[in-house]
Symmetry: none
Subunit: 226 residues, 2 copies
Amino acid sequence: MHVLIVEDKRSLSKMLKTSLEEKGHTVVLSFDGLDGLAQAETGHFDIMVLDIMLPGIDGLEVIRRLRKGKHQLPVLALTARDTVGDIVAALDLGVDDYLTKPFAMAEFTARLRAVARKGPFVQDVRLEVADLVLDSASGQVSRSGVPLALTRTQFALLEYFIRRAGHVLTRESIIERIWSDNLDIEANTLEVFIRSLRTKIDIDRKVSLIKTVRGVGYRMDAEDSV
Amino acid sequence: MHVLIVEDKRSLSKMLKTSLEEKGHTVVLSFDGLDGLAQAETGHFDIMVLDIMLPGIDGLEVIRRLRKGKHQLPVLALTARDTVGDIVAALDLGVDDYLTKPFAMAEFTARLRAVARKGPFVQDVRLEVADLVLDSASGQVSRSGVPLALTRTQFALLEYFIRRAGHVLTRESIIERIWSDNLDIEANTLEVFIRSLRTKIDIDRKVSLIKTVRGVGYRMDAEDSV
DNA sequence: TGGACCTCTTCAGCAAACCTTCAGGCAATA
DNA sequence: TATTGCCTGAAGGTTTGCTGAAGAGGTCCA
């Protein structure tokens, strides 16, 4: 799992990072609100751990902006015991769960797992690019209304592409995202998957929705540029 | 409106009280099960907000005794995210609605209003998908009018599927839901139950109502998609 | 109490689906 | 034209889910 931790107290974030990495998760640390928000918006993460009390823009503002941008990333908030009032505000803004400091590490990981499992605050995520529709709740994909049968990996790949539509994705970042548990995957494996995905989603069309960016990776266009 | 809040976490109940009083309601707080039950039986209230996890007798027991005494007071239950299994029990006992903590204040007031408006204990017990009908009150299931005899576990499974029709349910979430008391259940056990359920509800039909989503879990389609 | 019956759970075997790699070919760039 | 990068068809190996069977535990009734 890819976890983003936004917490300015270095010792605490270091501790959380270590603990999560021991469990096999990939962790990225951020130490202030603006940077954390930017990271969250990249779409690289499965969950965000967010301290409410932050330098720069605070945690509440981070969530507010994140949700405004329609990002559905699950958020586990951390608050000090004496700012319980913030919790109400945070929950209203769409935080998925919270922990008051200090907390036991066991509780932290348990909550994290629960939040991640439950998925994003708003569950019915309908992603679209051109006439391609992906519904992560029902796990179904269709193009021009025609339902497509994708395998699990193809689905994960396509979801990543759509979430990052318009951006060039390097082979490395794609592999890290899709095969986070096994990075000994060769680039060719990805190529083969890209092909299988293309044949499924591009049915008979001349131009693929997934463009090759030679020497770098791939890009899914945001618009249907014929 | 007169609201009775039975919740032992003082900070939370204080918060709810304040919020409701701002909206012009009258609120009484109770901090344990027995006292809460006694208050409820006075008949002074329009609605009860009840935490399931309580010191003394727990929330489930409170509802049980309350309903036994033929009290029709509407109840909005509060549960922790990790005791989802309790919800089933609570609904069976005649809770009108529930919220999993943490929740947004806006959602709380909305649910509260809905429950109060709906009046005492009117449960929607009739669940349908395609031509399959499940009555959770009487425990009866039928397909195309043909009654089906399901075992307890099969029934619980089917109810969960219908309540979440159109969504992909992972094996883990299903197991957590159905076997909340014993999570050492193996995935194969679930598979065997799926099979037994399928043979009963799909009688002779070519396509099962319960679809397999390879690598993830299962999904019951909302529409009868041939 | 003992036996018939029902339900739950696990096991082992199997077939299909899926993932991954390889080797050769084609296309873009210098 | 040579080189590099990407595509492609096919094949092997692994994983996943389905299935029939059988033991364990519980319940009901004689």
